[in-house]
Amino acid sequence: MIELADISKTFKVARREAGLGAAVKALFKKEYDYIRALDKVSFSIREGEMVGYIGPNGAGKSSTIKIMSGILTPESGECVINGRVPYRDRVDHVREIGVVFGQRSQLWWDVPVADSFEMIRDIYEVEGDTYRRNLGELTELLNLETIIRTPARQLSLGQRMRCEIAASLLHSPKILFLDEPTIGLDSVSKIAVRDFIRNINRERNTTIILTTHDMQDIEALTERIILIGKGRILLDGSLEQLKKNHAGGKTITLEFRGQPPELRPGLFWLERQSERAVIGVDNGALTVSAAIAHLSAHTEVTDLSVSGISTDELVVRLYQEYGI
């Protein structure tokens, strides 16, 4: 459904030192840097998949989304979505996609949200019945009954984001691009938005590509993640697989009385306080149950919990590993 092959894009960026002298100099001679925003990016996504696209700031996430939504033309490479090249066939392409840029708004500022929705209906030429069905469904799922009658400028960020997402789905797109959809939302709104996205993916089989810095989004939503750094695809795989390969083993958080335990090979300290310790377990050397047996034999354990690495830690580790 979505095929990207060797997509590259370079941006020209004007650079100068701070200060008046440098500003005057720049009048006569401008210095430019060329930033390779995307460097031979390739991946393919099947229909109905939900993919998390992650990477640090400036890695090229938004540029990729822009290329896939047809508003940015790459220098080289091929991008084919639904049999079309988005930037060459923009008008036909965008009819079948929905886009939410978390940092911008597609709602008309001064009019009630419902008016914006009707405008979107006209722009996309959505049939009356389809529109009513979609609107009803979205209103119910996203809890929009009352806010839909409010002008967009008077909505809270969370309310607005729910409306933005609804607006991007009114024309029943086959693909939905979400560029940081939960940015700045409180936990309640985040969870509402996540539930909704999951629902849409399941029920309408909408293909969803999501960029985010919130690892809970990824954890809650996607099975597959694509990691991009410095314009390159570094990893492409399932979250479980990644955790297995890159997370190392489990960690044991231990509360105890008296002396801290002696560690045997395969165990290592992550944190060590007077009555509390976090201990890492090396999967290859020792099983978790053997580790627990060892620990309880060597100290008086008052509390113990075993956890895997969190996705946040995983991502930090990945960023470190790839030097991005």
Partner: protein, 267 residues
């Protein structure tokens, strides 16, 4: 087609809310109109024969220009479209299944019509009832009125097509201010907004009347008072059609090229 009507409606209704701006604009337009009339009446008193059109025709020219200012002037541009590229909102704009040229054209049309709707009626009303020869008089006959309407619609389309070039230029300059000022200063004088073009020396006038700027205000406003009539009117209207076609074609080609290199600003 319906989607363009939708764009028109939303722009039109949004712009209609700007009542204070309309009131202020109207006051300026009245003041400027009166000043123009006073100035020219002093000149005419010195030697009425030195001017290429009668004072009553000139008064009509001035009042009509003031009433239709929002419709025909180069500076009543749509600020939202001007900011579109520098603010990065062009991103969403491009995610719509609509031809960007047509969409912006319709928005500009709507902005201008909304602005003129609020402003023209009081100016028409007052200037009609001013004492002769300072007033806005009716065109000499019904034929002239029809010709004027045709020429006004064409002039309106020419100015919108010209504004489109200003909007497209913002793809290249990022900040809309510079282009805007260049476009305005070029047009103010050359379109006959400051002075009907037949007030200029013959050689210059002949050249200027061939340029697209003349099609914007000079032609329709002079057709109204019968100063351009008959064969000359037809010739000027043909020229308006020609420039409209050229400007629209130019804009569309340029837009296509601009979109190839568009960079959506900010994250």
């Amino acid at each position: 087609m319906k989607k363009y009507l939708t764009f028109f409606t939303i722009r039109f209704t949004t712009r209609l809310q700007y009542r204070a701006a309309a009131a202020a604009g109207m006051a300026t337009q009245f003041a400027w109109g009166f000043m123009n009339i006073l100035m020219f009446s002093a000149f005419y008193r010195a030697n009425p024969a030195a001017f290429p059109m009668g004072f009553d025709q000139l008064a009509s020219y001035i009042w009509l220009r003031q009433a239709l200012l929002a419709l025909l002037s180069s500076w009543s541009l749509d600020s939202e479209t001007l900011e579109m590229v520098s603010s990065g909102n062009i991103g969403y704009e491009l995610c719509r299944p609509v031809d960007l040229y047509n969409m912006w054209f319709v928005k500009d049309v709507a902005t201008r019509i909304a602005a003129v709707t609020l402003r023209c009626i009081p100016i028409f009303a007052v200037s009609f009832f001013l004492p002769k020869p300072y007033n806005l008089s009716l065109p000499p006959n019904a034929g002239t009125l029809l010709l004027f309407l045709l020429s006004m619609v064409l002039g309106f389309c020419v100015i919108v097509a010209y504004s489109m070039l200003v909007y497209i230029a913002t793809f290249y300059t990022y900040s809309p201010l510079g282009v805007r000022w260049i476009a305005i200063s070029l047009t103010e004088f050359l379109s006959g907004s400051l002075l009907p073009l037949n007030f200029l020396p013959d050689g210059i006038r002949r050249v200027l009347e061939l340029l697209p700027f003349s099609s914007m205000q000079n032609v329709p406003l002079r057709v109204y008072s019968g100063d351009i009539a008959g064969q000359a009117a037809l010739w000027h209207i043909l020229l308006q059609l020609f420039w409209l076609a050229v400007l629209v074609a130019l804009g569309q080609v340029w837009m296509k090229n601009a979109l190839k290199r568009v960079v959506v600003q900010g994250g």
